[in-house]
């Protein structure tokens, strides 16, 4: 079971390469924000899966914050883009 979780975590981490590419090349700011968001989603899943693989449920809290703060960041950006200041 642990092997499966770890493999999935590894896969999720490998997949962050795709949004990182979009982060580097995305023509608009929105593209980059979406890319960071996807990095966060995939990191969160990786942490969840890693916690399951390592058998440490205390890691789970980190994943929760990882996701929610990345979305908060997106909303901060949206506010900043709409208003020109935060």
């Amino acid at each position: 079971m642990s092997q499966v979780f770890l493999a999935a975590a590894l896969a999720e981490l490998v997949l962050t390469v795709l949004p990182l590419w979009r982060l580097a090349s995305g023509p608009t700011i929105g593209d980059r924000i979406v890319a960071v968001n996807l990095v966060a989603t995939q990191s969160m899943l990786a942490v969840f899966l890693f916690a399951a693989a390592a058998g440490r449920d205390i890691y789970l809290g980190v994943a929760l914050w990882l996701a929610s703060f990345s979305y908060l960041g997106t909303m901060l950006w949206a506010r900043y883009l709409e208003r020109g200041l935060l």
């Binding site: 924000i33 990786a46 942490v47 205390i58 020109g84 200041l85």
Partner: protein, 443 residues
């Protein structure tokens, strides 16, 4: 099922023989981290750099988790994920006349007003190929850094290697002396409590300096928009205070640019496709309601983090989490929703009360047990909420200090305004003198 807390076991190696290949995750993360860091340096657009920085923070969090340091990961996720980008965004927003990039302005339909030239959504032709034009010395430095990181990764204690003496001492002391199953918390709030004490007051000093630096000339009761709100009254009392025409014009232009104090509170009723800058203070109703739901969840989880101090967590990350919640509400509702709490009279009092509580707590150790930061509370059994004696109380005080301190810093910086008064000494003193002896200057 009770919470399992594996850090109690000495060196619970996740790397010994039968375990799957965890090292692959390490190296993969290292590569990703380097990629993100490379982006931070090489991207030409300031906004994009900030975003790459938050991506770096996210990946760094995963690294900390994978290396078995959830405490650090907790701190990193809030500092790297929220506080840092927020402060950068505020800074860019405040200084945006300086950061406008010339190549952006000629791109389509984003150059209507100078206010937006830096917040324009087009980021110029900075594509991935541009990243590959590095200079040789940068490549050498990067390679050196890479080598250093590889060496560091190889030097990480593997499962079979003995722990350093400090770590062993902490592990030996944590459970018998403090009834704490979380060794890091024992170190932070127990063995090295004096360091944490110092750090807390260092933070307090930092908050104080930010408050001093961002304080405008006018007395204020809130952090954001106070100078605008009080300007009318101030002009009535003292018509000569803002006398220079240049200054008035500059302030007017700034206010125009920022759109403070105008427009409707809500953005719901605006017609579609009306271009920004947005004047409404709140975001749309969908965001507001969603945030209301999420805030409940996040606040409870944050409190859980501080209360349950025998697992990773405790005061610092929980305090930063609370900053996240406050920012969330601010983003969705605007300042007027948080103004009741986020104002100097309340936030600074809370912070000082937290600091006072910590001082009293630790000084009682000196009085009752003979040494500063000594435990004087009877210890509850391990893995209950009251285990750890004063460590838990210290953590709670830290939570208060950190949360209020971070909120103060962010909102003080957020509300900082530029002082358009000219730096010319003679003009400045003339302006001040005029308040003292009126009539004389009037002619």
């Amino acid at each position: 099922m009770p919470v399992t807390s594996p850090t109690a076991v000495p060196a619970p190696s996740r790397r010994h023989g039968a375990e799957p290949v965890f090292w692959a995750v390490d190296y993969l993360l290292l590569a990703l981290l380097l990629t993100a860091a490379f982006l931070v340096i090489r991207l030409r657009n300031l906004n994009a750099c900030v975003m790459a920085l938050s991506a770096l923070g996210l990946l760094l969090t995963v690294v900390f988790v994978v290396l078995g340091a959830p405490d650090v990961a907790h701190a990193e996720v809030v500092v790297g994920g929220v506080a840092l980008p927020t402060l950068f965004l505020i800074a860019i927003g405040k200084a945006r006349t300086e950061v406008a990039e010339p190549e952006q302005t000629n791109l389509e339909e984003t150059s209507q007003s100078p206010a937006r030239s830096s917040t324009s959504l087009r980021t110029g032709g900075t594509g991935a190929p541009d990243l590959l034009r590095h200079r040789p010395h940068a490549a050498v430095l990067s390679l050196l850094l890479l080598a250093a990181l590889v060496v560091a990764m190889l030097a990480i204690p593997r499962g079979a290697r003995p722990l350093p003496g400090m770590a062993r001492h902490a592990i030996q002391v944590a459970l018998p002396q403090w009834h704490l199953t979380e060794v890091v918390n024992e170190v932070v709030y127990g063995t090295r409590a004096f360091d944490t004490f110092g750090e807390t007051f260092l933070l307090l000093a930092a908050v104080l300096s930010v408050v001093v630096l961002t304080r405008p000339r006018e007395p204020r009761s809130g952090y954001v928009g106070e100078d605008v709100a009080g300007r009318q009254e101030q002009l009535e009392i003292d018509p000569h205070l803002r006398s220079g025409p240049d200054e008035r014009q500059a302030r007017e232009a700034e206010r125009e640019e920022e759109g403070l104090g105008r427009g409707p509170l809500t953005t719901d009723a605006q017609p579609f496709a009306k271009p920004f800058p947005e004047r409404g203070e709140e975001m749309t109703v969908v965001v507001r309601m969603g945030v209301r739901v999420v805030a409940v969840l996040l606040t409870t989880a944050g409190c859980f983090l501080v209360v349950q101090g025998y697992t990773p967590g405790g005061g610092f990350p929980a305090g930063a989490v609370l900053l996240g919640v406050v920012l969330l509400i601010y983003v969705a509702h605007g300042y007027h929703r948080v103004a009741a709490v986020v104002r100097p009279a309340v936030a600074e009092t809370i912070e000082l009360l937290g600091a006072l509580a910590i001082i009293v707590l630790q000084s009682l150790g000196l009085l009752l047990r003979g040494s500063f930061t000594a435990n004087w509370v009877p210890l509850a059994p391990a893995r209950t909420l009251r285990s750890g004696g004063i460590a838990q109380a210290f953590s709670l005080g830290e939570f208060v200090v950190v949360s209020s301190g971070l909120v103060i810093v962010v909102f003080a910086v957020l509300g900082a305004t530029r002082d358009w008064t000219s730096d010319d000494d003679s003009a400045d003193s003339a302006g001040q003198d005029r308040t003292a002896h009126e009539g004389g200057d009037e002619s």
